[in-house]
Subunit: 191 residues, 2 copies
């Protein structure tokens, strides 16, 4: 289960077996069932989650009582509600398993201790957050600049693995439209 | 000019005078006039910008030929088009001075060399990007979840200094509505 994290870290920094065996002790292995919540709105997000297997999503419940998905995370992706994680204020979001998933969780406290013991890991997390920050800039552009139909095609091109994998009603929620509208767009593509 | 950066770094990590005097040599001081571009769409974003004085904005030109502002940066804020900065691919965005501004710029190459010489600075940049990532999550929520009027009030509460400072047509562009609509909302608040 921890091999995937080691390989992911090695994409960014060098890490030997001995150091990794200490680093991994800061993590807890969690198995979650489909639709199980790892975080609910109003609670503090104590953990940073690395997806080993499966898929998580982050969502909030809007004024109309509808779940609005804002982010997915599949294998090799990190997910947390970072405002809550850093400030220890109540979370604005839910984090839920889309599928049965295997997760490595590290608490804020454990992460800080691990970074104190292995300052080289700061570089790993710096690059993870820099990429996430970069992805957010593109994401915000697409939320302003694309029509809903364009957003769907953009998403299909960029993340084809999601479109195959994520239930259609969740994909519709993420793209900000109804499942019916999604079906309509998809049917247009059939030759 | 560099004092502000030193103080900003000290909010996150300890740094002595001697180390900072070496770190600051990796930066270039830039003065930009109002409406001067630091980056244009299609060019590579070579630099990461720290605002010492003034205000920058990042925008793209949408299908209708309209400038759509997605981000502002005032004193103590970092700004770059991080996809282009990291991958050296052409930028999707423009970065322009809203006011006459004083900037500290560090190139990708210089930043990498500086981080090699001062690995402790990885923590500083990790925390900067973690916060920016956190702010993006809230931002994406507001883009999905708020009406345009709510977005305006949310923004006024969270960033009152901007609302005083940024020209109204740019604020309207950032919030995704016309200057006329912004005037209409503002006039409602007059008792």
């Amino acid at each position: 289960m921890s091999d995937l994290l080691k390989k992911h870290i090695e994409r960014f920094i060098e890490i030997n077996e001995e150091d990794f065996s200490t680093i991994i002790r800061y993590f807890r292995k969690i198995e979650v069932k489909k639709k199980e919540n790892l975080l609910i709105e109003g609670k503090i997000c104590h953990d940073n989650y690395f997806v080993v297997k499966g898929c998580l999503r982050m969502f909030f419940i809007n004024d109309k009582g509808v779940e609005q998905t804002i982010q997915f995370a599949i294998e090799n992706w990190w997910l947390a509600e970072y405002v809550s994680f850093e400030t220890h204020q109540p979370s604005q979001f839910y984090i839920q398993a889309v599928e049965k998933s295997e997760i490595l969780a590290i608490s804020y406290q454990a992460q800080e201790e691990m970074l104190l013991q292995f300052p080289r890991m700061e570089r790993y997390f710096r690059l993870i957050h820099q990429r996430a920050h970069a992805a957010s800039q593109s994401r915000i552009k697409s939320l302003y600049g694309f029509s809903r139909e364009e957003m769907y095609y953009h998403f299909c091109r960029r993340y084809p693995e999601f479109v195959q994998r994520v239930p259609q009603y969740l994909l519709a929620s993420f793209l900000g439209f109804t499942p019916e509208y999604l079906s309509e767009i998809r049917s247009k593509r059939i030759p």
